[in-house]
């Protein structure tokens, strides 16, 4: 992994706030695989479930999790597989060989995006001013995943068990995203861990 940099490797905060209302953590160099296939094709869904150890989430805006792998529903025939850093080549190869001859597509998009976790006491306030989507817990339960806008760019937002949000953002927008976050958190204090 020499010479690999995360999209947010360059950010620094001169004075990290001790009692920050917003805490940001980049889940560095996680494996991102985009999987496409027909959800009504049982051979496809069963093969994928066998390889990953968990069934693909078929309900809109839902997700599935097993170990360090998280699967996001993106569209009726499209999923995002988030796998442990460095394992994406193996997972892709396993899926390819298991799905050989079937109608599917798998693309390694790890270098095109990154995963950022946002937590903190002021998280609700931050989400309210950053995205048009209603992130209140009554509307956004744990395990839900939505693709929407965040600071006028796109983000895939997932609610974690601990109430924090995982955001998948584009690599090319990572710097812009961070500058927005820094500005939007000014009233609350921002810590990067």
């Amino acid at each position: 992994m020499t010479n690999m940099y995360t999209p947010l490797h360059h950010i620094t905060l001169p004075d990290t706030v001790a009692d920050a209302g917003i805490v940001m953590r980049e889940d560095k160099l996680r494996g991102h695989l985009n999987l496409r296939g027909n959800p009504e094709d049982q051979a496809f869904t069963e093969t994928v479930a066998k390889v990953l150890g968990v069934a693909l989430p078929l309900q809109p805006n839902s997700s599935a999790e097993i170990g360090s792998t998280c699967i996001y529903w993106l569209a009726p025939n499209e999923w995002l597989l988030l796998v442990a850093a460095g394992t994406q080549d193996q997972v892709e190869a396993d899926l390819r060989s298991a799905l050989m001859g079937q109608h599917f597509a798998i693309t390694d998009i790890s270098s095109g995006q990154t995963l950022v976790n946002l937590a903190g006491a002021k998280l609700d306030e931050l989400m309210m001013k950053s995205t048009v989507y209603d992130c209140h817990s009554s509307h956004f339960p744990v395990g839900k995943v939505v693709q929407t806008t965040f600071a006028k760019t796109g983000a895939t937002i997932y609610k974690c068990t601990d109430g924090s949000f995982d955001l998948v953002i584009r690599r090319s927008f990572a710097d812009y995203f961070f500058l927005w976050l820094k500005d939007a958190s000014e009233d609350y204090g921002l810590a990067v861990i």
Binding site: P60, N61, A75, E78, Y133, Q147, T149, G154
Partner: protein
């Protein structure tokens, strides 16, 4: 701001997540070569642009990135229904 129900995400989303994609149900001619220039130009460029009920395509560009159809009144902006690509509208303005 419009509130639009995406038939694929199965929930209401803000207009900001969508982009408008023009008139729906325009069928591409099977044999373009047999068309006159007028007919081809009509297919490519000319739209009905009605005042009132309109069937149109929208793209959930910041969401699931799928196209779907919307029945909307172009003068009141009221949305009567949204439906998936390949489906037919229920609201057509024709008396049943």
């Amino acid at each position: 701001m419009l509130h639009i129900y995406c038939p694929y995400c199965e929930e209401m989303r803000e207009e900001e997540e969508f982009s408008y994609s023009g008139e729906a149900h325009i069928v591409r001619p099977k044999d373009p070569k047999s068309l006159t220039d007028d007919e081809w130009g009509d297919y490519l460029f000319f739209r009905t642009n009605p005042r009132g009920l309109h069937h149109e395509m929208w793209h959930h560009s910041a969401g699931c990135r799928r196209y779907f159809n919307v029945t909307r009144d172009t003068s009141t902006y009221r949305i009567y229904e949204t439906y998936k690509i390949g489906e037919k509208p229920i609201v057509t303005g024709e008396k049943s």
